[in-house]
């Protein structure tokens, strides 16, 4: 059994002629909690999709617990950016979480009582058990995000990938999500993509900075130099006393959060 959860060697991904990632080498140990930061378009989500096998790899290799992404899907849970999802779709929280219990292939299938029990337990675990039968259209951003985490956990993964799970959620929900992830990290490897520069250092074990290539990979302490190199220009971590990133050399209105 390998103790490397994710092994990425010289990974390059192109969208048409445009490079999204070039020459990325990254190892994530089993049980690690890796945070990935970087500017918009820096390739963070693309890296997650390469790990999931959702984008064609132009060069290099990706291995999950020693297997190719296509053969390791049962090991991986994924929490996508919820802003891109259809929140008006007629489905309840419980039904969404149950989709994580679907079996591969396409044979007639009914969820068992055990599946439903697991889904209820997961909703309780993320703190929204009382909303199980509520339509997703009636959820707040934080509740929606917790539901997506519960769905990812329904797969029973060893590796959990999260794409900006604290974006557009309030401070209370954000803290709850970070608390939940710390708890989950006791049993699984976590890779977290985020723009939350202030909180990231205190949450993760290791940090990777992406801007088309891997700018930094190491201890999670985030220095001004790392951030400035990453974003290509000087950046303030605090604006108006709240964790915003503001380009120092740009005028008003250039806030990049």
């Amino acid at each position: 059994m390998t103790n490397t959860a994710v092994h990425i060697n010289n990974l390059s991904v192109y969208y048409g002629q445009t490079p999204a990632l070039t020459g990325v080498c990254l190892d994530v140990a089993d049980g690690d909690y890796l945070g990935i930061i970087g500017p918009n378009g820096g390739g963070k989500s693309t890296l997650l999709k390469a790990i999931l096998g959702l984008v064609p790899v132009s060069e290099g290799t990706v291995q999950i617990y020693g297997k190719s992404p296509g053969k390791s899907r049962a090991l991986v849970g994924y929490v996508p950016q919820f802003a891109a999802m259809d929140r008006r779709f007629p489905i309840t929280l419980l039904e969404v979480v149950l989709t994580g219990r679907l079996k591969q292939g396409l044979t007639p299938f009914r969820f068992t009582a055990k599946d439903k029990e697991i889904a209820h337990e997961l909703l309780e675990r993320v703190g929204i058990g009382s909303l199980a039968n509520r339509q997703i259209a009636k959820l707040s951003g934080g509740e929606f995000q917790k539901m997506l985490i519960a769905r990812a956990l329904a797969v029973n993964p060893r590796l959990l990938l999260l794409d900006e799970p604290t974006a557009s959620v309030d401070a209370v929900s954000r803290d709850q999500i970070y608390g939940l992830l710390a708890e989950l990290n006791q049993n699984m490897t976590i890779i977290l993509v985020t723009h939350d520069l202030l909180a990231i250092s205190s949450q993760v074990h290791r940090l990777a900075c992406l801007n088309g290539r891997l700018v930094y990979h190491g201890e999670p302490e985030l220095t001004g130099n790392i951030v400035n190199n990453l974003y290509g220009c000087p950046v303030d971590l605090i604006a108006h006393g709240v964790p915003h990133r503001v380009l120092k050399e740009h005028g008003e209105g250039n806030q990049i959060d």
């Binding site: 049962a74 989709t99 679907l102 591969q104 396409l106």
Partner: protein, 282 residues
Amino acid sequence: MIKALFEYQFLQNAFFAGILASVVCGIIGVIIVEKKLVMMSGGIAHTSYGGVGLGYLMGFEPIIGAFLFAICAALGIGYIKRKGGARSDVVIGLFWSLGMALGILFIALMPGYPPDLSSYLFGSILSVTKSDLYLMISITLIVILVIVSLYSYWKAYLFDEEFALIIGLKTAFMEYLLLVLVAMTVVVLIRVVGIILVLALLTAPAATAGMLTSNLKNRMLYAILFGIVFCLAGLWISYALNIASGAAIVFIAVMCYFLFYIVHTFFLKLNRKSIAAATGKS
């Protein structure tokens, strides 16, 4: 009309055709509305006109030609969309026009007087034959079987296709299968409302049902019921006033949608106002 329904075979055929069309519309209509495939369904429907023309030219049943063209269009549009490199609305538009153009060309190549194609373009539920009914029954059963037996998979696919792929569902196969089901549904509807009016019967019952319930399964059941009401009311008006049946069905369907939309919006605003008032008081 009820007395006539028991007397005349053509009215009985029309009645059953309306029921069958409502069932497939209710199921597939809700899916295409939720999956935002309405224009793609329009493209598939209009491409089938080429098959109608080919059927007349080559001397086989035009509805079989429509069926083959609709399947080819579904798979062709789906393939190009999936492979990328072209915008799906462009591809849909091109298939749409090509099918219509081929239909016109095939008819023009026929010797002698051209046949009357209005029943395929605008539907003619009163001229549905026994063989049409058998084809419609077969297609309806296939649609019900495929959707009901794989319902949990369809729900996962419709809500989040990317996640469905990640957990190992064959999403490419599901997409092609769905498009083939749309093509089959279009063929059922061609005899009822015609190629040009197909979109209204696919979307109006589903969209109206969407205003009444937030449960996908109930939405399909409501859409089937709405479809039945629209088809039978249109049939009755068509019989009573001796007007085109397809147009009557579509007119009722679209008017009911707008009526529900107005009432729904009114109650939504009323509800918001009462919530705002209650919040203000507390």
